[in-house]
């Protein structure tokens, strides 16, 4: 048998064009990353998922980077995953970015959604969209976090409203704040798989207008990467952020971290292929936090049912457009106090 295998003539394939294009793509991304964009791109998966949940039923899709979309499959929770590739020289180069969609789609629906994403991408690149909503969500004692809602009109007349954590006008602020060390570390999350570790810091930056942007960033002390494929990463992100109940609680431990005593919560997550990921997480200062995915969902339900205490209405300009905001207080089932301002264009209710 060994003789047969050693003597077999293997077919070969080379593609100089692919090698050149991939090399250019990889080095371009490397240079962009080193130019100060900061956090690695894997966090976009987490931000994507959080953004999806934060939008509630207003919008079920979140787009980060757009070019060519292709259907990758369904998550264990039933979300449809579309991979995103950039087109260069007629060849698609898959990226680590993706879009998640809820609902119940058949094959035709999946293909229509794919086409819709590509069309929405083109509209976004041209800024052919209308800002139709803004929400500012503030956990008591913390700065507010803003979400933008954009309406897109497709060629066939259908409309789609997407929730986006748009950093328009903000990226350079975040870069500057990061370079000056002006950030708060809210949470430390460490993952371990196959003996390799990666530590993520949930960092909050407070912008000049008082609102905050929270970005997960790799800890230079334990940057990883983890030996996970793109598909494994989004399965892990889904388990951690959408179905955290699927994790197995392993216990908690008091440890010293970043100059203080914190409580480390330990969980394990098992992927569909049997890969086990151990997660340890510590909230550094319980008073400094944002809503979890579950809390965000609960807040949306309370808001939709008008179960908050209305505080005030006010007007504010957002991206050059006047908005009327209604601010209300909510108390979640776990006692968390949240203030949310929902803004509609002009005097619209």
């Amino acid at each position: 048998m060994e003789e047969f295998l050693k003597g077999i003539a293997l077919p070969e394939y080379q593609s100089d064009a692919h090698a050149r294009q991939l090399r250019a793509q990889v080095l371009s991304r490397l240079q962009t990353s080193r130019a100060g964009r900061g956090a690695g791109s894997w966090w976009k998966i987490a931000a994507l998922v959080l953004g999806l949940l934060g939008a509630g039923a207003l919008a079920r899709e979140v787009i980060i980077q757009v070019h060519h979309y292709y259907f990758q499959g369904q998550t264990r929770g039933g979300l449809y995953v579309f991979g995103i590739a950039t087109k260069e020289g007629g060849t698609n180069h898959p990226s680590s970015d993706m879009a998640l969609v809820g609902g119940n789609l058949d094959a035709a629906g999946i293909e229509q959604k794919r086409k819709d994403f590509e069309e929405l991408d083109a509209l976004k690149q041209r800024n052919a969209r209308e800002l139709v909503g803004v929400t500012d969500t503030q956990v008591k004692g913390n700065p507010p976090v803003r979400m933008f809602f954009f309406k897109y009109v497709l060629a066939d007349g259908r409309t789609s409203t997407l929730a986006e954590r748009d950093l328009e006008g903000d990226p350079q602020q975040v870069v500057n704040l990061r370079q000056r060390g002006q950030r708060e570390i809210l949470k430390v999350t460490e993952e371990k798989v196959a003996g390799q570790r990666r530590r993520m810091l949930t960092c909050r930056y407070v912008l000049s207008d008082g609102r905050a942007i929270t970005i997960p960033e790799t800890d230079p002390q334990q940057p990883g990467p983890l030996p996970l494929t793109t598909e494994q990463q989004w399965e892990l992100a889904e388990l951690e952020y959408i179905n955290p109940g699927k994790g197995k609680f392993l216990g908690s431990e008091q440890v010293q971290m970043l100059g203080r005593s914190v409580t480390l919560q330990k969980h394990s997550f098992t992927l569909s292929d049997g890969t086990v990921v151990l997660q340890s997480e510590a909230q550094l200062d319980p008073s400094k936090r944002e809503l979890t995915a579950a809390q965000t969902g609960e807040l949306y339900r309370l808001s939709a049912a008008n179960q908050g205490e209305t505080l005030e209405t006010y007007e504010q300009e957002v991206m050059g457009k006047p908005f009327k905001f209604t601010r209300a207080n909510y108390v979640l089932s776990d006692g968390t106090e949240v203030t949310q301002s929902i803004g509609k264009p002009g005097g619209e209710r």
Binding site: G7, Y13, G40, W42, P223, P225, T230
Partner: protein, 197 residues
Amino acid sequence: MTLPQCLENFTEGAEEERALVLAAQRDTAAAGQLFDKYYPEIFRYVYHSTLDHAVTEDLTSNVFFSAFRHLGLFRWRRIPFRAWLYRIATNEVRMHYRRQKRISAANAGDVDPELSGAVSSADTLAAERDDYRLLQRALLGLGQKYRTVIVLRYFEGKSLSEICEITNKQEGTVKSQLHRGLAQLKDALLRAGLTLP
């Protein structure tokens, strides 16, 4: 095809690789050299595992995007950079076949995508001989873990220690997987009518 020396006996090469990775973390030109060094063998490995031109290009792209995404923060771990790249590539191939199975399940009645994707591609027909075609079909009938170690050992010329680093298994486990995989492969080829030397 020649077998490379065992990594434990190739300390000069390991240091050279480490120096290149460290340089690539600081300098984009060095990162380009790192890419040039490993692209051909990763591409070849993925192709031997899938026998599909388009899939090979997509999966190879995934491997390098994944690896270089954190290159600037990469710290030397228990395994060399090359072995780590192969590990990512092995996972990409495995996930590819899992996705193919899911798509096949959603479109009931289609030909087994593993077989059709690997064998009937118009790009590969010109290069296939009957015995290799039978071999590939038989390989696809094995479990993923057996297929991986056989491809790494006999198509990519990896040593046992390299396979251990790539698959993150002990040497005894790899030997056992090779032994069982070859036995199953032999049975499959004999049932297919192939005469073995």
